[in-house]
Symmetry: C3
Subunit: 213 residues, 3 copies
């Protein structure tokens, strides 16, 4: 693997932390024990980045080379035990944590891909895969329909923020600032869409009276 | 990644197109919105090739390097909106599209593997993984038992066609012709097996009166 | 890929064999036909190692380069037909086979990772991923909650055995002996935990009267 700039490493670790919390909450809802909860937290937190690194050939994947990744994932899992009452005050604690992770991982994933000479189009796609991959594994292991496939705005937020980040990079805004703004925009759109129940339009087959194929 | 011959790129893109349609139909059946449908189409269309490239170390995976892959996947997803009534005329629209994708991806996957000096045995296996991987991800995300595990003839068709392609290659028939025939044979066997409800024999534990373990 | 020492190759192939049996039994429980059963056996047997090799960049993945892997996986699948009555005498045939595979793959995965200069922490994690990955794919394809997320001791056994193996390696005990003892310890802890119904402590949210988030 190539080394990340300190700023992107911190961003990436923030994503690891919040995704670990989201995995831990998902485990709680499925009545898993402490260990199932830690495992699901770690898989959710590190899964997206591992898929990203395998697809890019940035191997051994970062999580195996930089010890902080696993430590931060474990810290996220453990923090749920202490933050349990605080998290319960949020309306959708799992979705909010997932939203922050989505924002951060989409942007860091895209920047790592650009750094490996992937063209912009592919870098946006890799960003979205990084941002949604861990949550997708979490939901599949918990036998839920993945968030990314639901009617709320999810990957759309990632794509919009990734494109915005690209524009800022081209305008010469500096990688760290562009990434921070991009991640903030993605997380905000996603959180707002959960709070306000924003949906995308229905498809042909969902119109009243339409025939199923 | 290494560059594909133009003919194999076209074949590969055909597979991407039909798998995108199959993903889009699967989404329709699960009442997903436009976006869920596009996401599922893209994941189904590009997933098998991404697994193939990661396993071969042909990285960054082709879909990130060649912009046509994502564009064709999106075109497949969008085309369902226009072809909706036409597809509805087919008895099993999702399975037919999946059958074409299976044929094409099995053959291109095998040829890419041979090109990377994988021995014939492993190349057949990688072909089958490429041909079935995208559909497997689609079915897992939709919480269906994957087609590949059902009683109909599916991966068997892939293996037979891959072996046939290998024989034709050894006989010096030319890579493009062998691939085209191989893909056609796989898709035809699969489509016939769906139409005629061909099954493989039952297993020991399915015989009447057998004991479960 | 790098070549494994003969001893580790034998260990790895043992894991392939028992995981193939576990996949075949899982297929039997889901009433799959002969072919579904062989496919599930092969995926379970080779899946963990493929994930391991992709994450390490040890590509093309071992299973595509060494023909014995697929042959042994097929042998495991076929052996279920002959060992059906014998396996039925075990109380938990699938879990026992899975336990042996867990032990063997965790240790070989860790040693392969150490060999690729992954630090000890990451190597333990990669070992656990190798040991649990195939079973996780098996359970997801069968639409079961993965064993690794259940309340019994599972990945904990892998971590303990991996750490023990590391200590023995540092003490200069020799790679083969350390690996054999480590694998034995993991499989034994896991089998005992299934037989005696050992659990990990309940989590905060599972205490009586606790609130769900």
């Amino acid at each position: 693997m190539t080394t990340l700039e300190p700023f992107f490493r911190v961003l990436d670790l923030l994503g690891v932390f919040v995704f670990a919390i989201s995995g831990s909450i998902a485990a709680a809802r499925k009545n898993m024990d402490v260990y199932g909860s830690v495992i699901l937290a770690v898989v959710t937190a590190l899964g997206g980045g591992m898929i990203r690194d395998s697809l890019l050939g940035r191997t051994p994947a970062g999580a195996f080379v930089d010890p902080l990744y696993l430590l931060v994932a474990l810290a996220g899992a453990v923090s749920v035990f202490f933050l349990y009452n605080l998290l319960g005050k949020l309306h959708y604690p799992m979705r909010y944590m997932d939203a922050i992770g989505l924002g951060v991982f989409t942007v860091t994933g895209m920047i790592i891909a650009l750094d490996q000479d992937v063209f912009w189009f592919g870098a946006v796609m890799l960003g979205v895969i990084s941002g949604t991959g861990g949550g997708m594994i979490r939901d599949v292991l918990c036998q839920q329909v993945p968030l990314v496939l639901e009617r709320e705005i999810y990957a759309v937020a990632g794509i919009l923020g990734a494109l915005l980040t690209l524009v800022m990079l081209r305008l010469g805004l500096g990688a760290s600032l562009s990434a921070a703004i991009g991640a903030l925009v993605i997380s905000s759109i996603r959180i707002l869409s959960v709070q306000r129940d924003w949906h995308l339009p229905r498809a042909v087959w969902q119109k009243p009276g339409s025939r199923k194929i």
